[in-house]
Subunit: 332 residues, 2 copies
C-alpha cells in the first residue's frame, strides 16, 4: 500500500465516522415544534441529499431563496428599513431647513408617521432617496452600521437585528449544512442588508438580492468611489423577484420561503421547475409574542399567496404553534 | 481519548499529509512559462493564503473577477456573441421578409459585415435585439447551446468554446483551489455566457455578471415563464463593471484580470481597496498563434489601461512569451 493510498483510506474511514456522528447528533431545528412544517422541511432536505433517491438534488442545484422582511426578521409596525429612513431624515434635518415646509418631510419631523404614509409610495420614495442617496457606498455602509448598533424598536426596545427569527436562522444553517446555497431575495435594499446579514444569518453579501438605486463610478482626488444616486434601479418585489433571481443567479431555486403576496411570484417560479421543490410561507399568527396579521395588513399582506399555498399544498408555518421561540435574542 | 477526539486527530494528520502532498505536487499552471507574470500570480496567491502573513486575505474576501472576451477566450475578428447574433439573424430571416429592405439586416444578409459595423452601436443594438429578445429565458438557453455546438470560427474552424485560453482555465482552477471565488464580469450578455461557462471555466451561473436586457415574468397557460424583452437593462462595460460588481457582489474584489480599456475601471476599483491586491491584463502579442493587437484595435482596444498598468506596476501577460499554449483544445 502506498503512502498516499493509506492516507486516503484513513481519511475515508474518519469521514464515515464523522458523518454518522453528525447524523445521530443534535436536532438541527431545536426552535421548531415537531409539527407538519418541521417534518416537511426535514423530509425535503433529507430526500434532496439522498443520492440515487427519487428526490435527490445535485449540490450545485441546491439554491434556496428567502424573503427577508417578515420571513427572516420582523416587519412591524413598519418595515425596519423605513424606520431607518425616518431616523436618517431626522438626523439630516438640521442641514435641510427647507424640510420644515416641505412634505412629506414636514409631517415626518413633527412625528406624524400616519400623514407621511398617507402620501403613499411617492412620499416613501422621497424619504428613501433623501436618506439613501447622495453618499458613497462606503459611507452608506457606515451609516447603516451605526443605526443598527443604536436604534431601538419602538415596541420591544431591542436593537433591530435582535429581531431576527431564531427558527429561520436555524433553518438557514441546516440548509447550508446540507450543501444548499442560501440567498436573500427581498424588497429591501441590497445595500441596507449587506452590512449585517452575514453576521445575522450567515449569508454573505454576494448572496443578497434586493431592491437597488442607481450608482455611479467616479474618481475623486485620484481615488475611485461609487456614489449612490437618487434614482430607483430595480424594485425587487412581486414579479421583480423571479426576474431578479433569473438575472442575478441565472438558475431556478429549488427551495423558497416568503411570508406575503410580494413573494407569490418567487414561489410560483420555484414551484414550476422540474424535480423536487419546497415552497414555504411564514404565517404571522402570534399576536402575543410577535404580531398576528395576514389578509388585511398593509405591511406584509398575505392573501393571494395564502390561498395558493393552501390550494397547492405549500408549507404554511403557523408561527404560534410551529415556533417554540421567535427571536434570536431574548426570551420570546 | 474519546472516539470523536481520536477521529478528529486522525483526520487532522491525514489532512496535513494531503496538504503537503499537494504543495509538493504538480505545477498548477503548466501552460504558463516561468516568467514574471506567473511568478507574480504564484507569489500573490501564496501570500494571500499564508495565515498570519502580512498579505494574508481571509477566504471570504477572496473575490476574483475576470473579463471574458479577450481575457478568457478569443474575441477576433468579432466578439463571438456578435457572430452568434449574426448567425441568428440569418436563421430568422425567412420569418422576416422585411429585413431584405431594412438596414442593418439587409447588409448582414448580403454578407457585408463591414457595412453592418459601419452602422455603429445602433446597428449592433438592432441585431442584438432581433436575435436575443422575444423568447423565454429557457428557449434562449437552448438557442445558445445549439449554436455553440455547431457554429465554427471563421479562421480556426473550431467550435467557439474550444477557443478558451488554457492558461486562464488553469489560473481559475488554481485560484479556486486556494479558496478564491471566481467571477466573470464581462461586457457580454449574462444569458449568453451562463449556458457554457461552467463547463468551460468551472464558473457557475450565479458567478456570471454580464450585460443584460430587461425581462418580464408572465404566467402562460398556468405556467410561469420569464420573457426576454428588446430593451437594454445594463451595459456591463467600463464604469459599468465596478458599478455592477458593487450591485451584485456587494464587496470589492482583491483580484482582477482584463485585457482592454473596458476593464480599466474594474481594475482601478480593485486596486483602490485596502490590503493585498492583484491586477492583471492579457496583452495580445501573438499574431501567429492568436492575434496581435492593442492600441489601434476596434475590438478589445488596450490603450489607456496599458499605460496605467505600466505606471502602476500591474501584471502584464505577454501572450507570446508567457503562454506555452493558447487554447484549451487543439495543438496551439
Amino acid at each position: 500500500m502506498t503512502g498516499i493510498r493509506r492516507i486516503v483510506i484513513t481519511l475515508g474511514i474518519a469521514l464515515v465516522f464523522i458523518a454518522s456522528a453528525i447524523a445521530q447528533g443534535a436536532d438541527p431545528l431545536p426552535s421548531w415544534s415537531d409539527g407538519a412544517a418541521k417534518q416537511a422541511i426535514v423530509a425535503f432536505v433529507g430526500e434532496a441529499a439522498t443520492q440515487n433517491g427519487p428526490r435527490y438534488i445535485s449540490p450545485s442545484a441546491r439554491i434556496a431563496v428567502f424573503d427577508n422582511d417578515g420571513t427572516l426578521w420582523a416587519e412591524k409596525p413598519l418595515y425596519f428599513q423605513l424606520a431607518f429612513a425616518i431616523d436618517r431624515v431626522k438626523t439630516l434635518a438640521s442641514e435641510h431647513p427647507e424640510w420644515e415646509q416641505e412634505e412629506p418631510f414636514a409631517s415626518l419631523l413633527k412625528g406624524d408617521t400616519k400623514a407621511v404614509l398617507a402620501g403613499g409610495e411617492a412620499a416613501i420614495l422621497q424619504i428613501v432617496m433623501a436618506s439613501h442617496a447622495g453618499m458613497t457606498t462606503d459611507a452608506f455602509e457606515g451609516i447603516v452600521g451605526d443605526w443598527l448598533s443604536s436604534a431601538r424598536h419602538p415596541k420591544t426596545g431591542r436593537l433591530y437585528n435582535e429581531m431576527t427569527y431564531q427558527p429561520m436562522v436555524e433553518l438557514l444553517a441546516y440548509l447550508r449544512a446540507n450543501a444548499f446555497k442560501t440567498y436573500i431575495v427581498s424588497g429591501g435594499g441590497n445595500a441596507f442588508m449587506r452590512p449585517w446579514v452575514e453576521k445575522a444569518y450567515g449569508i454573505p453579501p454576494e448572496q443578497v438580492i434586493g431592491s437597488s438605486i442607481k450608482t455611479r463610478f467616479e474618481v475623486r482626488d485620484g481615488r475611485p468611489v461609487i456614489v449612490r444616486l437618487p434614482e430607483i434601479a430595480f424594485i425587487n418585489d412581486k414579479e421583480g423577484k423571479p426576474v431578479n433571481i433569473d438575472q442575478v443567479i441565472g438558475r431556478r431555486p429549488v427551495f423558497a420561503f416568503g411570508n406575503s403576496d410580494g413573494d407569490l411570484q418567487m414561489l410560483q417560479w420555484t414551484a414550476a421547475g422540474e424535480g423536487a421543490r419546497f415552497m414555504g410561507l411564514v404565517h404571522h399568527t402570534d399576536g402575543e409574542r410577535e404580531w398576528a396579521y395576514d389578509r388585511a395588513s398593509h405591511v406584509g399582506r398575505l392573501d393571494k399567496a395564502l390561498d395558493e399555498a393552501r390550494k397547492k399544498g405549500w408549507t404554511l408555518v403557523d408561527m404560534k404553534n410551529d415556533w417554540k421561540r421567535i427571536f434570536s435574542s431574548g426570551q420570546l
